[in-house]
């Protein structure tokens, strides 16, 4: 009973939140509703006995990724309205819906009516976190290391990409120096 109520409550909440994210014109609303949706998604992980995954979802997604988005939005004018002109919106809507359904069907099809044996079975007496740790650090050690390296590379890449031309700190300059710099860049842009 509890699971049914929780499932329907959280599915409605998640769908509404992600709907706001997809259809709103305000980036700030989109960001906040996306963060709320991520929190609600973690509820499904707790319902599915994937406690560790739920905690990771809250920490990584709503903690790190959303903070990164909010931080990135400071660098550009995120609240400016982007003109979204689509020649045939209804056709676009229909096509995207159909293609998404087809993708889901393709991925779900092998699961239906086939005998799947558990390669790494769950041990209920261990608890989820320990179970995940044992499998992750024995069977999936190399993918784990590769993921760690990939995260490092992506982080350095992101810093280098975003940090270009940030070698001048405005807070250390005087007003005159800033004015001189601004007029210099303006001249360069006009060329």
């Amino acid at each position: 009973m509890f699971e049914i109520v929780a499932f329907y409550l959280f599915s409605i909440l998640t769908i509404v939140m992600f709907g706001i994210t997809v259809f709103t014109n305000n980036s700030l609303y989109a960001l906040s509703s996306l963060a709320a949706g991520m929190i609600f998604i973690s509820a499904f992980f707790f319902l599915l006995d994937a406690d560790f995954l739920g905690a990771v979802q809250i920490v990584v997604y709503t903690g790190a990724v959303m903070a990164l988005y909010a931080f990135g939005m400071m660098f550009f004018d995120a609240l400016s309205v982007v003109k979204e002109r689509i020649n045939n919106p209804k056709l676009m809507f229909l096509l995207s819906g159909i293609s998404a359904l087809v993708i889901v069907l393709i991925f779900v099809a092998p699961i239906v009516n086939s005998n799947i044996e558990a390669q790494y079975p769950v041990h209920p007496e261990w608890g989820n976190a320990q179970d995940v740790g044992v499998v992750l650090f024995t069977k999936y050690l190399i993918p784990f290391e590769v993921a760690a390296v990939m995260l490092l590379v992506a982080m350095i890449g992101g810093i280098i990409l975003a940090g270009k031309k940030m070698d001048i700190s405005y807070s250390e300059l005087t007003e005159e120096e800033i004015d001189a710099l601004e007029s210099q860049t303006l001249k360069k842009d006009n060329k």
């Binding site: 995954l53 550009f76 293609s99 799947i116 558990a118 993921a147």
Partner: protein
């Protein structure tokens, strides 16, 4: 709840993300929509992992989360670079080779 209920929910969320990816012209919204799609897949993987008593689904969900985090780091860097260059985050502005 049955496995089908979770898979249907995952399909609905994935569909929402797909609609966002195809419909939106704001690059930031495009990133948000990809996050929605990745999360939808994560729900499906966790559900399959539970109903078949197998931990592989949860492992894949972890790696998907890692990939999503690195995608955000690189994608936001590129987005900031594009904004510095063009002054806008409109997707149509990226078309520099109109056929």
């Amino acid at each position: 709840m049955s496995l089908n209920a979770y898979l249907i929910l995952s399909a609905i969320l994935f569909l929402l993300g797909m609609v966002g990816v195809i419909r939106r012209k704001n690059l930031l919204m495009l990133f948000f929509s990809t996050e929605i799609m990745l999360n939808a897949v994560n729900v499906a993987l966790a559900a399959i992992s539970k109903f078949y008593g197998d931990l592989t689904g949860q492992m894949f969900a972890f790696f998907i989360i890692a990939i999503a985090a690195s995608e955000v780091a690189v994608g936001l860097g590129l987005l900031i670079l594009l904004y510095k260059k063009r002054g806008t985050i409109d997707l149509d502005n990226l078309q520099s080779m109109k056929g």
